[in-house]
């Protein structure tokens, strides 16, 4: 299964999924994306930037703490919530620049989206 197929399947599995994309925070590029027609490249670039900065906040915060933090899934997730949109970013672990982004236009429970995103990212990692 190709990455694009995984993104397509993920997008189809979620109602009102605007974007399902796989990107790299080091290069700040979306490598593959499945999205609605009105989404422009600039929007994907902005999402990539946002993902990079969100994970930077997490990594910085963790580096400032003396206690060792296990590679908990919570620290590989970021959520952006608005009145009518939910955006989530997930990565595999602290060291990985690969991330998966989902944007849904109707309010959705972030927890369910996060699980879907982690599953999709796991599948992508398996095919790489």
């Amino acid at each position: 299964m190709a990455i694009k197929d995984i993104l397509d399947a993920t997008s189809n599995a979620i109602s009102n999924c605007e974007v399902a994309a796989f990107g790299d925070t080091d290069t700040r590029l979306m490598l593959r994306a499945c999205h609605q027609n009105h989404i422009r490249r600039e929007h994907l670039d902005a999402l990539c930037d946002q993902a990079a900065h969100c994970f930077n906040f997490i990594d910085t915060a963790l580096s400032l703490q003396s206690e060792a933090i296990e590679n908990d899934a919570d620290f590989n997730e970021a959520t952006c919530v608005s009145a009518d949109k939910t955006t989530i970013f997930v990565r595999t672990d602290f060291t990985s620049p690969d991330f998966l982004c989902l944007v849904c236009t109707n309010p959705q429970e972030p927890d369910a989206l996060l699980k879907t995103a982690h599953d999709a990212l796991q599948k992508i990692n398996a095919v790489q």
Binding site: H53, F57, T60, A61, I69, C80, V81, S82, A83, P107
Partner: protein, 269 residues
């Protein structure tokens, strides 16, 4: 035969106050709440700005109801980003505010009437606008641009006001263990928790934003105005990043409280 329509023939008396003075009072004194379910008051935001915002965001015909204190209510017919007509409901009944055909003069009368009532009210509560039929009998209509110009409000800023409520920032701050608010030329730090929370937040901000946490322009994760960004930073603690028109807020909040906060900030989700 139609019954007589109660109308006010002239603009309401302004007393000894100029329109400018009224506007100043509105921005400094009026306690404004937005919607019955929103408990927090917002003294910093002008009720007029929210009114302009409501008109600016209304395309389909809607009836906007504003409760001004316990005794007065304003009814505004709004459509296509225009104020079509204004009614004042008081103990004396429902009265239409009569305006001339000239939109400039009409806008002056509309805004001075509304300003005077806002200024004399201790609370101003905006109700959720209701859908309205097209065939209502309207007087001279005024565009949101004209109304905002007369009120001295930037309608583009006002358009964002509902989504960028300092109300929300205040709400987040009240629940935060520590918070850092960054404006165009200032930063403000506060805490409800321990010093270590504040220190952590300060260090995160310094490293991720730079010393230039002094200015909001340097904040890298810039949520669009209506978003709250949540990232976990410690076990059970999330960093909430939110912004208003000119302010950005970074706050450390307990994860359990963050969900409650989101429900309060976005009640219709």
């Amino acid at each position: 035969m139609m019954g007589p329509k109660p109308v006010r023939a002239t603009a309401p008396a302004m007393g000894s106050q100029s329109f400018g003075q009224l506007l100043h009072r509105l921005t400094t004194q009026v306690e404004t709440t937005y919607g019955a379910e929103v408990a927090a008051n917002d003294k910093d935001k002008s009720a007029l700005q929210h009114l302009i915002s409501e008109i600016s965001e209304t395309v389909l015909p809607r009836l906007l109801t504003i409760e001004c204190g316990p005794l007065t209510r304003l009814l505004l017919h709004v459509s296509n980003r225009r104020l079509l007509s204004l009614y004042v409901v008081s103990q004396n009944g429902k009265t239409a505010v009569d305006v001339p055909n000239d939109p400039d003069e009409a806008a002056q009368i509309y805004m001075s009437t509304i300003s005077e009532i806002f200024a004399s009210s201790e609370t101003v509560v905006f109700q959720k606008p209701e859908r309205m039929a097209h065939n209502a009998d309207f007087s001279t209509s005024c565009s949101v641009e004209l109304l905002s110009m007369i009120a001295g409000i930037d309608s583009t800023q006002a358009q964002n006001a509902n989504n960028s409520t300092p109300n929300n920032l205040a709400l987040i701050k009240s629940e935060a263990l520590a918070w850092l608010q960054i404006g165009p030329n200032l930063q403000e730090l506060g805490q409800n928790g321990y010093d270590e929370d504040q220190n952590l937040l300060r260090q995160i901000a310094t490293r991720c934003i730079g010393d230039a946490g002094k200015s909001s322009k340097h904040l890298k994760v810039r949520p669009s105005r209506e978003e709250c960004v949540l990232v976990p930073v410690r076990n059970g603690i999330v960093l909430v990043i939110a912004e208003s028109t000119e302010q950005r807020l970074l706050a450390l909040v307990e994860q359990t409280k963050s969900q409650k906060l989101l429900k309060q900030i976005f009640p219709n989700r």
